[in-house]
């Protein structure tokens, strides 16, 4: 590998109102390496990459490509210098084919103004062959999987002759299998002499794929280290700035009576498609039951049915021994003693325009002391919020701060605080750490274990196998709306992964 850097950033500084997003950051990228950019949410990774991709202009500092200083005033300039970017949210047009999406904006024109679609398709095939992609150029984007869509995005960059590829949290949307495939692709790109900047906050995958790792914290680069010789703990310390417990330490569960009993539950989604097909399970006091599965196999509908947000089509749900009516609204479920950390805290869990105090009152605003006879007491809301903010160490605002102004981790803390403080018998936690950084994940995990030990029955639904494995006392795998197996927490990721795609051996439930 050539030692001279293909890309060099010197002293990049970017100031946003009130925030120094990038503070004199130096970074270099060698030919044929995967360079991971690691940092917590808000550490300045995306800002730095947007500067590199021409979306922002730095206040200070310079960028050179192949030793030549460059200035980018738009993404176009960056593309011209061979830089391609794959965003977290894909920028594809669903109704167009793969090839059409790839050539969009850089259409080859044959004679005159006519689009030479044949030539475009041929080049797409050629590039895909070179790098070992499995993509059908004529498939419509809306019909292919998320993993394939991501490959289309990468192809798009390669089609524009990029030799530097920036991937912004690429595994956030992938299944473990797809992530593995992606890493395969990255390795073949590397072998072809491409350079990759890999942005992530997940330690294990950074260690899996990167050659060198740069860690950002609060807008500053902490260090750049080679892969060899670093540990997850060491990286976590650099990211968070203190020691982080990566493994959840939990005492053995002392299990009590079943608090959540589900029997032969069937649930339809909005399009009347059966998503939950005959699920039966029990969660007992003092245990965490983990549900693993690939996204879209009915977990969301199961959680919504259990929390009264969706009416089941048949089957029964009993909370603390009391069978709930089939049409029980969320209010009835709440009152029966169900707490819910929803999978999407911004759409479900919080009213972002509400203050923290108002959000904390979201379930109990209609009961004393929050209100009496329909009269609301904002002062009592604030007092309550002040206590929870202190107890749960919510940072970034007080009781009257808008929830939307908080960082994701602190928003999640507010949600957890609210649910736990209601003292529920059953706590349903759906992807409780999605989008959170290491420090916040640690907090949520510890808290869930604490709540377990308080004697609550916890139903944990997560797409992160590691999370399921480290927290659960028992694990159920859900596939196509059914429970396809029960596993002990000692099961391996491979075992679960196979079960998740319907290939596992049936275990006795």
């Amino acid at each position: 590998m050539a030692a001279s850097p293909v890309l060099e950033l010197r002293g990049i500084t970017k100031q946003f109102p009130g925030v120094l997003a990038n503070d004199h950051i130096d970074l270099d990228l060698k030919r044929g390496e995967v360079h991971a950019l690691l940092g917590e949410n808000g550490a300045g990774k995306s800002t730095l990459m947007n500067i590199l991709y021409g979306l922002y202009r730095p206040d200070e500092g310079e960028i050179s490509v192949n030793g030549k200083p460059v200035t980018f005033s738009s993404a176009k300039d960056a593309i011209a210098q061979g830089i391609g970017m794959v965003h977290q949210h894909f920028m594809l047009i669903p109704v167009m084919t793969v090839a059409e999406n790839i050539v969009l904006g850089a259409e080859p024109t044959g004679a005159g103004i006519m689009l030479d679609y044949g030539a475009a398709r041929e080049r797409v095939r050629e590039i895909a062959r070179t790098f070992g992609f499995q993509v059908d150029p004529d498939a419509r984007v809306e019909n292919i999987t998320v993993g394939q869509q991501q490959r289309v995005e990468i192809l798009k960059a390669l089609y524009r002759r990029a030799d530097i590829l920036i991937l912004d949290e690429p595994t956030a949307v992938l299944t473990p299998q797809e992530a593995t495939e992606l890493f395969g692709i990255l390795r073949s790109l590397k072998a072809e002499g491409m350079s990759v900047i890999f942005i992530s906050h997940k330690l294990n995958e950074v260690l899996d794929i990167a050659d060198r790792i740069s860690v950002l914290r609060r807008g500053k680069k902490i260090d750049t280290v080679p892969r060899a010789g670093v540990t997850e703990e060491g990286l976590a310390r650099m990211m968070v700035g203190r020691d982080v417990l990566l493994r959840v330490e939990k005492p053995p569960a002392s299990v009590g009576d079943p608090l959540l009993e589900i029997h032969d539950l069937h649930v339809l989604d909005d399009r009347d498609i059966a998503k939950v097909r005959g699920v039966s399970l029990q969660v007992r006091a003092g245990e965490i039951l983990g549900i693993a599965g690939v996204d879209g196999n009915g977990q969301t509908e199961l959680v919504e049915a259990v929390t009264g947000l969706r009416t089941s089509s048949s089957g029964t749900i009993a909370v603390a021994g009391k069978t709930m009516p089939r049409h029980a609204h969320s209010r009835a479920m709440l009152d029966a003693g169900t707490g819910h950390i929803p999978e999407d805290r911004q759409r479900r869990g919080l009213v972002l325009e509400f203050s923290l105090a108002e959000n904390i009152a979201l379930h109990d605003y209609c009961y004393p002391p929050d209100s009496e006879h329909g009269w609301l007491f904002p002062r009592r809301l604030i007092q309550h919020a002040r206590r929870l903010i202190k107890d749960f160490d919510v940072r970034g605002g007080g009781p009257t701060t808008r929830a939307g102004a908080l960082s994701g981790g602190n928003q999640q803390k507010v949600v957890v605080a609210r649910e736990v403080d209601r003292n529920p018998k059953v706590l349903v936690a759906a992807q409780p750490t999605r989008g959170l950084d290491v420090g916040a994940i640690e907090y949520v995990h510890r808290r869930l274990v604490t709540e377990r030990d308080e004697g609550r029955a916890i139903l944990l639904v997560s797409l992160e196998l590691e999370e399921i494995l480290s927290l659960s006392d028992r694990i159920l795998v859900m596939f196509e709306g059914q429970i396809v197996g029960e596993y002990p927490p000692t099961a391996t990721e491979e075992e679960l992964g196979l079960a998740m795609i319907g290939a596992g051996k049936e275990h006795a439930a």
Partner: protein
């Protein structure tokens, strides 16, 4: 009056990783937060500047024209140095301004309240009209009632009628998902043509004069007392206090009751509200009914305060409910903002009346059109105000699309 504990000035930097909120109300509220109170002020100023250019283009002095308009609103009555005959005129004009402001506050609240629940109530006009019809019916037919009881009954039933009219749209949204914009617009037309039938020739409630399409006139016992100015010269009736009271009621419901808490939660994020145990459907119905109540009350204020009867051409020409939309938007759907918006539009209506313009300076044809132009410009710029904030937002979002500031 601070609206909620959340809206303290300078509350926070932009959300680090929030996706755009999902309801129109929430998006708009986010835009409004960016625009602050400066945007509506700029809007108003720009509208008047543009109006000034139009006035200038017709060869008249914009400054003296605006001076005439301002004096025409009667707001110069507030200046202690205005005296003598000017003061008398100012008083009369201010009475007219406040007469116009009264229903505008209420129809503005009708829009604002639904808006806080995430709905766009375009049906203020229809709700206003059914309120007016009921006020006419009660006011003209139950003349044996004692004054206060008669007035109370007429206002209460008119408000109830408005609530029913608004509630229909809310009910349809809750049960069938029919969009409230469509259903309220249709209900407006139903209200207009029902009135056309009621008070039109040989209609069931046509007044004693069989030849003209005019309703009965309300009895004296149902009229709202005039407390300022000459009752025979359309002095100011006590309805203004009812409207001011409605502003307080609006604020209290929203910020000090569980109903208001639910309304705001549903308005900002129905999914989260449902998750919180709030019935979204019930709130759609209830918020539209409360909205309609305000608008229906507006109809009663006009009928019992100064109009006393309705002709079918007046039903067709009325636009109080629609101006209410502009009032609420300019007023940012808050109590204080709605008051100021209503005062602005009420003042504008009276101030730009042709009677305020010097006949020797303004040709009558021009005067009548100029007033409409200036009113139209303000309405236009109220819309443009949102557009401008929208563009401003959009540019910012493009530039900061994936921005994630530290902290």
């Amino acid at each position: 009056m601070s609206e909620t504990p959340a809206e303290q000035p300078g509350a926070a930097p932009p959300p680090p990783d929030s996706e755009p909120p999902e309801t129109f109300a929430a998006r708009l509220s986010a835009r409004y937060r960016i625009g602050g109170i400066v945007a509506p002020l700029i809007t108003t100023v720009v509208a008047f500047l543009a109006g000034g250019i139009v006035v200038g283009a017709t060869g008249h002095n914009p400054l003296s024209t605006y001076r005439a308009i301002f004096n025409g609103t009667g707001l110069n009555w507030l200046f202690p140095w205005v005296s003598g005959a000017d003061r008398v005129d100012a008083a009369i004009n201010l009475q007219q301004t406040l007469i116009q402001t009264t229903p505008l506050i209420l129809t503005g609240l009708a829009v604002a309240f639904a808006f806080r629940c995430g709905m766009f109530n375009i049906g203020g006009q229809g709700q206003y009209l059914v309120g007016a019809y009921v006020a006419i019916f009660v006011g003209s037919s139950w003349a044996h009632l004692a004054g206060p009881a008669h007035v109370f009954l007429a206002v209460a039933l008119a408000a109830l009628a408005g609530a029913v009219w608004g509630g229909i749209a809310g009910f349809l949204k809750a049960t069938t998902g029919a969009h409230e914009v469509i259903s309220t617009i249709m209900l407006n037309w139903v209200a207009i043509w029902v009135g056309d039938y009621f008070f039109g020739l040989s209609g069931p409630f046509q007044g004693p004069d069989q030849f003209n399409p005019i309703s009965n006139t309300v009895a004296d016992s149902a009229k709202l007392p005039v407390f300022w100015g000459d009752p025979e010269l359309q002095g100011l009736h006590v309805g203004i206090f009812i409207a001011l009271g409605a502003l307080v009621v609006f604020w209290v419901i929203l910020n000090r009751t569980t109903i208001g808490y639910e309304v705001r939660a549903v308005g900002f994020n129905p999914s989260a509200a449902e998750y919180g145990g709030i019935s979204v459907k019930k709130n759609y119905f209830r918020a539209m009914a409360i909205s309609g109540m305000f608008a229906g009350c507006a109809g009663a204020m006009d009928i019992l305060g100064w109009e006393f009867n309705l002709s079918t051409p007046a039903i067709h020409a009325s636009s109080i409910g629609f101006i209410g939309v502009a009032v609420a938007l300019l007023g940012r759907n808050t109590a204080i903002g709605t008051f100021l918006g209503a005062l602005l539009f009420g003042a504008l209506y009276v101030g730009t009346s042709t009677r305020q313009l010097d006949a020797t300076v303004f040709d009558p044809q021009l005067a009548s059109n100029l007033t409409l132009i200036i009113q139209g410009l303000v309405v236009l710029f109220v819309g443009a105000d949102l557009l401008i904030i929208g563009i401003w937002q959009w540019r910012k979002r493009v530039r900061l699309r994936t921005r994630q500031p530290a902290g």
